[in-house]
Structures are given as C-alpha cells and as structure tokens.
C-alpha cells in the first residue's frame, strides 16, 4: 500500500494548458500515473497529447471519473479552483501553486472543513509520490524507489535531498508527501502521520520540518500519544534570524515563536530523535531499519 495516491488514482490537472501544468502532467503520465483529464476555462474540447481538456471540473469528472485534482493555476485563481474541485466531488486536491494569499487559504480551509470529505495537500508544495505507483506533482521520481519509509516535509528540494540520501542507503519510500511551506497548509504533519500510521506498508516515518508556526510542536505531542511507528525528524532553519521570511511564506521566526531550537526540543522531549543534517537523518533511518530486521 501507500498513502493518498496509488495506481487507482485518477488525476485531473487544472492549468494543464500552461507551461508548468503541461510539463508535469505529461511527466506524471509517463511515470504511470493515470492522468485522465485537464481543466482550463475556455479551452474545453481541446487536448494535451491525448489528455482531454474541459472548461470545468464538473465536466471533467462526469467524463473521466477523476478523483484527484492537481493544481498549477496562478495564485490569484487558485482558491477558486480548489473550491470548484471540491464542489465537483474531488476527494483529494494537490495544490502546487505558490504565493496564494493567506486569507484565501483561510477561507478555503474553512469551506473545506464545513464540506468535509475533501483533503487538500499544499498549497506551495511539491505534491505526492508513491514510488512505483503514482506521482501527483513535481517531485522528480528518479531518486526514489518503493520501500517502507514514509516521508513528510514542508519543503521541496530538501525533501529530494533527504529522499535521495535515504535511497542511497537502500531505503525506499512508501509515499513522499510535501505538505507545503505556507502559513495555512491544507494538511498538517498530524494528518499525514495518521495516514502513515494506518498504512501497513509504512514502517518508519521521517518528518522534515522547518522554522515558523507550531506544526512540529503539535506533531511532537501527537506522536507521543497516537503514533506507534518509529518517527525521526529533521528541522531546517537554526540560523534563521527572527522576523525574516526565509523563502517559504510560512518560514519565519516571530518574536520568540517558531524557532528551530524549540521545535527540535519539543520533538526530542516526546522521544523523537532529531538529526542535524540531511545526511545524518538518512544515517539514523538506516540504523533504525537495521534494528528492525529480525536476527
């Protein structure tokens, strides 16, 4: 198994006629993902290398039974697109788009909470990859083989770095989930930890956090109470000065809150080992995997 996406996932790509959307929709299809439709308002009736394009999500779902939306729409249109996908009956929305206003994210999240039954991953994220099964997003799949490590991260290239270090040590992944670097993510570490906990294929969970907010602190408490599988962590941003946004909109130490030291301390106080570099976390994962092998 895996979480969120697999061979059965049927993807509709919003913004498929744009440069990014087209490139990644085709790359995801080449990987073996079922990319069944695209949505671009005003371009319905056309196709992108055989992938039919519709004006609306409702038509796309009607015609193709798509269940997962992958969004490459511009930031100013993204909230509209997420809400449209949800209303049309999509169960999983993966929003790659960066730069969505925080108030749009707040309204969308509130609407999705009221509706229920829709999971949003992102925005400002690299997407979800279940190696050997499906790639929904922009994660370069060549560095990852199928295995038993569940990887969840707020970052993009850092995730690839950690993932490839794991892979070099022979540790494949069940699923890699980028939850995104925005202040109001659709899914949190806790949501994904619960999915990995319930996934029989995942044996070890790697959490890659960064400065800003309190998602890592909340995850630490949740792990202690609810997660039985081993979890190890890495936190980026020890050297970040307060009050400065470090690239991701959500990566900011505000006054005394959101610093890397406090996050690492919270995780360690709940028994989660925190590695100090991408290579170190892969080594730690390797040690744990060795221990898990019965003699």
């Amino acid at each position: 198994m895996s979480i969120l996406v697999d061979r059965q996932t049927r993807v509709v790509v919003a913004g498929i006629t744009g440069r990014e959307g087209r490139f990644h929709a085709l790359a995801n299809r080449r990987y073996g993902t079922q990319v069944v439709a695209g949505v671009t308002p005003g371009r319905g009736g056309s196709d992108v290398e055989g992938i039919p394009v519709f004006d609306t999500f409702a038509e796309a779902i009607e015609a193709t039974d798509a269940d997962t939306a992958l969004l490459f729409v511009p930031a100013r249109a993204a909230a509209d697109s997420i809400l449209e996908a949800a209303e049309a009956g999509i169960a999983l929305v993966v929003a790659i788009t960066e730069g969505i206003p925080a108030h749009d994210e707040l309204r969308v999240l509130s609407a999705l909470r009221l509706r229920g039954g829709v999971r949003l991953i992102g925005p400002n994220c690299p997407g979800v990859l279940s190696p050997g099964k499906a790639n929904v997003g922009i994660i370069p799949p060549s560095f990852f083989s199928a295995g038993t490590v569940g990887l969840v991260s707020r970052s993009g290239t850092l995730t690839y770095q950690i993932g490839s270090e794991l892979d070099r040590r022979g540790l494949g992944a069940s699923t890699i989930v980028g939850i995104g670097g925005d202040p109001v993510p659709g899914s949190t570490f806790i949501d994904i930890l619960d999915l990995f906990e319930a996934d029989p294929e995942t044996e070890l969970i790697v959490l890659a956090g960064e400065i800003g907010g309190e998602a890592e602190e909340q995850a630490a408490a949740h792990i202690a109470q609810r997660i039985s599988k081993p979890v190890i962590a890495y936190i980026a941003g020890f050297t970040a000065p307060p009050g400065k946004t470090m690239g991701h909109a959500g990566a900011i130490v505000s006054g005394s809150r959101g610093g890397a030291e406090a996050k690492a301390a919270a995780l360690e106080s709940h028994g989660v080992r925190v590695a100090r570099s991408p290579a170190a976390i892969a080594e730690l994962a390797g040690e744990l995997a060795m221990q898990a092998v019965p003699p």
Binding site: R76, S142, Y160, A240, G247
Partner: protein, 391 residues
Amino acid sequence: MDLLEHQGKRLLARHGLPVSPGRLASDVAGAVAAAEQLGYPCAVKAQVPTGGRGKAGGIRLASDREQARAHAEAILGMSIGGHAVQSVWVEAGAQVARELYAAVLLDRGARSPMAILSARGGIDIEELAASEPGAIARLHVDPLLGLQDFHGRLLAVRAGAPRELLGPLASVLRGLYRVFASEEATLVEVNPLAVTADGSLLALDAKVTLDDNAAFRHPDHAELRAQLPRDPQEAMAAERGLTYVKLDGEVGILGNGAGLVMATLDLVAQVGGRPANFLDAGGGSKADAIEAAVEVILSDEKVRAVLFNIFGGITRCDEVARGLIEAHRRLRPRVPFVVRLDGTNDREGRELLRAAGLEGMHVEETMEAAARRAVALAGAQASARLKAVLL
C-alpha cells in the same frame, strides 16, 4: 511586511478606529514644527518595524518646545533592535485612565483567524501569556463569517472589562477585524488600547503585518512598502526577483529551494562558519540568473567565499554547471567558489566544472564536504554559540 506605527494607524483610521492626530518627521526641525502644531503634551515616537521601542528610550513625552527638540535629537539616529531610526511620529498626548490589549491575527496553530483581548494592556503580551494566561481572552473566528458584535462582547466579558465598555470594545474589535480582513493582514495589534479619562477608547500603538502574497490585490500598499527602510542588498535582490535575506557572516550561500538553503546555512554554522546570507535561486540555471544572484551575494563586502548547493530535480546539474561557468567567466569573482551538485546529471555537471579549470572554483560531492571547504576558505571564526547549539 511589518508596517511602521504611523502606517498601521493610517490603516486603522481608514477603517474607523480611533487614533490620535499626529505628524511624521524625518529631522529635528520637522519634529519641533509638528509638536508646535499639535500642542503639548505630545509624544515623540521612533518609527522602526520592531517592538521594545519604549524600553529602548524611543518613545518620550514632551511638555514643551525644548523637550520636543531634545527628544527628537535623541531619538533620530538611535538604533533599536538593529534598525536605525529614520523618522519620528509626533502625536498629540492623551489622558489615559487605563490600558488594554487588543489584537486580531492569523493563528497558525489552529489555521484560523483569532481575536485577543486583555484588560492588562501596555505590557509584553508573550510575557503575560506565560505568567498569567488567564488574563488573556482568545476566540477563533470563522473567516467565512467574520467577527460579529457578540464575539466582541464575549471577549470583553471574558477579559473582565468594565460593563460600560462592552459596546465600545465590540466596536473596536470589529474594526480591527475589518483591518485584518480588508487589508489582508496577518497581524493587527493595538497595545496599548487606551481608555481615556472621558471613557472612550483610543489606539495608542499599532502593529500591523500585511500578507505579501496579497499585494496584487492592494495597489495602495506599494506606497507603504516604499516608505519602509530596507537593507540595500535586500532591495537589490528584490529588484531582481530573488529571495534574499542578509545575515552577518562571511560565507555567501546560494541554493535552490528554501528548505535546502536553510539546511545549508545550518550546516555552515555547524562546521564553524557564519552564513552571510540566505539566497534561494529557485529553478533558474541560466547564466544570467546565476550571475544576477552572485552579484547580489558579492555586493556584501564581508563575503569571503561562496557556497553553491544545488539539488537538481527538474533542473539538470549540467545546465547549472554551464550557467555557472559562464557567469564565473563574466564576473571574475574576487572570492573562491565551492560548488556541490547533486541529483539529475550531477556527474556531468561536476565534470564540466573540473574541465573548465576556473581559478578559485572548488567542486565537492557532499553538502558536508562543501560546507567544510567553504568555511575553511572563508577563514571564518567558529561561532561558539551556534556550535554549542547545533553540535
């Protein structure tokens, strides 16, 4: 974007909140003229985007012309939290009977707007939260509904505010929420919110943070941004569309992806160096993009070595190497470069760099080795504090 007090107050006033009349001055003569016009007593207040102004002596009360002059002379040019004071806000004095605290902000933990009210204003709210959590009333607000009058009354009751203030406080809280929602702020904080001698409410301070991602919907906010003091290197980077944060070390850093760049900074500190900057070059591999980024890093004269850390996903490392070689030949940098390429076509990229035989160009295979090499080349002194924290 953290606004200055007078900018925040302008937004508060726009949404009907009570603020005192005041004038901005960037020199002593202007401050004295403002004080003369407003009358005495008046407050002379440093305009810097940081807290702790009062403790630092950046807020002083003047009861006559000579005091106004002396205060303006003392405050202008003062440094508060690393910010040089370039202007003062001279504000009419108020008869304050008591001080409250009010705020509306984005609560990241709950991923929801939150309104806060406390009857204990004028002090550090984080300290109060630690020492007397019961003194702070909090309430989450559905962004689809907005803050209603009853929310405001509920907060006022929970905060233990006097009954005659229920109505006025509800009105102020709704006003703060209007600023939060209409201007797309992530923080609107008034501390202190004064109750004046005649029983009315008055915002004596304003701390407003606007969401940069919403700037496209607020063309009028560009003017506020233009008024903010900015580090020259950060301004140069912003013009080039780069995400750059200036730090105070010797190792210049460039990478792709915010998380990876932060991890690189941390690693440099762990091996005893001090990062000079954060720079996320994104997915650009063209020589022009690399050149633009390197120019920003090298405009900081403290930089003694530059560390490139690239993980090629969609971006191919051989393309990055070609861009880097071209940029290096054009710029002829005065400091050594350490390059670490990993990911798609990393071997080809490293080969290209070695074959180019550029002076001062060092190629490493791992992040650790690259960080050590860059730190050694920069000759940076170990930062004992960070080392203690990280190792």
